[in-house]
Symmetry: C2
Subunit: 121 residues, 2 copies
């Protein structure tokens, strides 16, 4: 039995909370997650994995300790493992994140933005 | 040294050949590949891995032996490992494919559309 196709905008319509990634698909042991982001996230890194950001709508900035990268719709970036980063967005931005199953959004940084549960939509 | 951001349309402007995926990024041992497709590909499967298709522009159909799925811009599908499929597009369609490094586009089917080299853009 094959699964249904996934429409990103239809999935985005199902949630509104910022910094709260929702899983939409799995490929082997990797997950595709949608997020709506606005404001500043926390500094963190992922010790064991790269992490991919694709901007679906809007603009975001990924801050690094000594530089930053601004991403617009149709642009992507792979943050290398172990590199501290801080995602930010002045206005709401819709992103697609690709990373291995089990990655915690705040790395080891913890805090109130930490999501420890798999939330599928 | 961090890499540059990746703009999908700018990368698409660098090639025109159909069914000739170009690597734009790696995340751990996975690759992001852009392809322009038109017409019918060959029936094939990937024995050891799922394969993700994301439509960036246009429309494509993924045919399965007993069904088919039509994908439009902003839609995605993960073809499970071992499932025979045949990507098709009536008109040129731009897609983003995500799969492990080393996956051959035609699986074991072979033929003139087989790409055995890594082509980065």
């Amino acid at each position: 039995m094959l699964s249904e196709k996934i429409n990103l905008q239809e999935k985005y319509s199902k949630f509104s909370k910022h910094w709260s990634p929702r899983i939409i698909a799995e490929m082997n042991d990797y997950q595709f997650k949608l997020a709506k982001i606005q404001g500043e996230f926390v500094w963190h890194d992922h010790k064991d994995t790269d992490e991919t950001f694709i901007v679906i709508q809007g603009e975001m900035t990924i801050k690094f300790r000594d530089s930053q990268i601004k991403l617009s719709e149709g642009e992507m970036y792979v943050v290398p493992k172990g590199v501290e980063h801080k995602p930010c967005a002045d206005n709401e931005c819709k992103i697609l994140v690709v990373e291995p199953r089990g990655v915690v959004n705040t790395g080891d940084a913890g805090g109130e933005l930490t999501i420890n549960e798999d939330m599928w939509i």
